[in-house]
């Protein structure tokens, strides 16, 4: 009787090799140092930027009491379906963001007063991790000595220091990021946040004690598994994590665009100070 073992072994080896290539994709490119090469244009898909937690679609970002059910608030009503919020399957590991009771009340108030409060409306810098999953591409520029992430949204930028400069000397919107390699995963620790940024368009927020640990793990050439763990004892009862894939733009014509939205919000922010305000 012939033994089937050699054929099974071959099959197993083939499957293992395929898994290592990330679902049959092209292999992870590497720098001269041997580290994964993340250079390129990346973007998150999905709806994390609307709301990190699982949510159903709803009529608008700001609702007001209606005759039967809440309806879009007047300032956003004219956008119709364009202004509606799509559903999302949620990216929070475990489902819910573990707010303290006080913080949850604040989050709910952020939602109720959304149009006054979301810093994205004023084209303020997005902070971390929100910058990652904004609905815009971002460029990773990575040499052996420097890593910089350049975001299309608001021209936000952050350098991820490969040598730890010590505690952040100043609070900032994008924080201070320090990165190191753990095998093939790029682990980034960020501190020094000023506490003014939000996580999404659903009022999810944090304070200035926030510490974020991100993990960028390659899954083949064109995908990164992205994970971010948030720790902020003033706002949350425990650390919590989000997880989502990042997709490489493979269109050779794709390029980082420019979304310098500051001038787009001047009418909103300063229109009342014009010599002749527009009615």
């Amino acid at each position: 009787m012939k033994s089937h073992r050699p054929r099974s072994l071959a099959l197993v080896l083939l499957l293992v090799a395929a898994a290592g290539r990330g679902h049959g994709q092209a292999p992870v490119p590497r720098l001269a140092s041997g580290k994964p090469d993340f250079n390129g244009l990346w973007q998150a898909l999905g709806n994390a930027h609307w709301d990190l937690e699982a949510h159903e679609a709803r009529a608008a970002l700001q609702l007001q009491p209606g005759q039967v059910i809440p309806v879009p608030a007047s300032p956003v009503r004219a956008l119709g379906a364009v202004g509606a919020v799509p559903s999302g399957w949620g990216v929070v590991v475990g489902g819910e963001i573990p707010y303290t009771a006080t913080a949850r009340a604040q989050r709910d108030e952020n939602r109720a007063k959304y149009l006054e409060r979301d810093p994205e409306i004023k084209c303020y810098l997005p902070g971390v991790p929100r910058a990652t999953y904004q609905p815009f591409p971002f460029q990773i520029v990575q040499s052996d000595k420097h890593v910089m992430m350049v975001y299309e949204y608001a021209g936000a930028v952050r350098e991820i220091y490969l040598a730890d400069p010590g505690p952040a000397e100043v609070d900032s919107w994008m924080g201070q990021s320090v990165g190191r390699w753990v095998a093939d995963t790029f682990v980034v620790e960020s501190t020094g946040f000023n506490g003014s940024a939000w996580f999404d368009r659903a009022g999810n927020f944090h304070g200035s004690s926030l510490r974020v640990v991100e993990r960028f793990s390659p899954a083949g050439r064109d995908h990164i598994w992205y994970q971010a763990t948030m720790t902020d004892p003033e706002t949350f009862t425990r650390p919590w994590t989000i997880r989502m894939p990042l997709y490489r733009h493979i269109d050779p014509n794709a390029r980082l665009g420019q979304f310098k939205c500051v001038e787009f919000v001047e009418e909103l922010m300063y229109g009342h100070l014009r010599k002749k305000p527009i009615q």
């Binding site: 000397e169 100043v170 609070d171 001038e263």
Partner: protein
């Protein structure tokens, strides 16, 4: 050229009035503050906004009627201070300062430019050396007292 671009260019032209295009300061202080409305303020710091493009020091003073009011004083970019080795917490709330400058052009605002901001002994509130490897180092005039930079 679209209309919105045209207007944007007009704005840039206004800034060219000085003649040498690139010399236009980032904003005309003369447009924000009224050089015909000088002020002198003395009081304790209640808040320090360590932000760009300008730091703002809020201090509580007594007005002519003896009532307390808070004024906001505009300074420069904190990035320069950071490179001089200064940190935000070196200037402690409660520290008394003296400011002379000019009232905001909008007289309804309690704001002024910090033309000269000093401690009560007259020394400047922020001093330190530049980190740019200059041929010389600025003289340091730093006190080691808490609340001083």
């Amino acid at each position: 050229m679209t209309k919105s671009r045209g207007v944007a260019v007009l704005g840039a032209i206004a800034a060219l009035a000085a003649g040498t295009g690139t010399l236009a300061a980032h904003h005309a202080f003369g447009a924000e503050f009224d050089k015909d409305a000088p002020v002198k303020l003395q009081g304790k710091i209640v808040k320090l906004e360590w932000v760009n493009p300008h730091t703002w020091i809020h201090l509580e003073v007594k007005n002519a009627k003896g009532e307390r009011e808070v004024w906001a004083v505009e300074g420069g970019t904190p990035n320069v201070l950071l490179r001089r080795g200064l940190r935000r917490d070196c200037l402690v709330p409660g520290t008394e300062i003296i400011v002379d400058g000019y009232h905001a052009r909008d007289h309804s605002l309690k704001r002024a430019n910090g033309k000269d901001v000093t401690f009560t002994d007259g020394t400047k509130i922020f001093l330190g050396s530049s980190g740019t490897g200059a041929p010389y180092e600025a003289e340091l005039n730093r006190s080691k007292e808490p609340g001083r930079c």
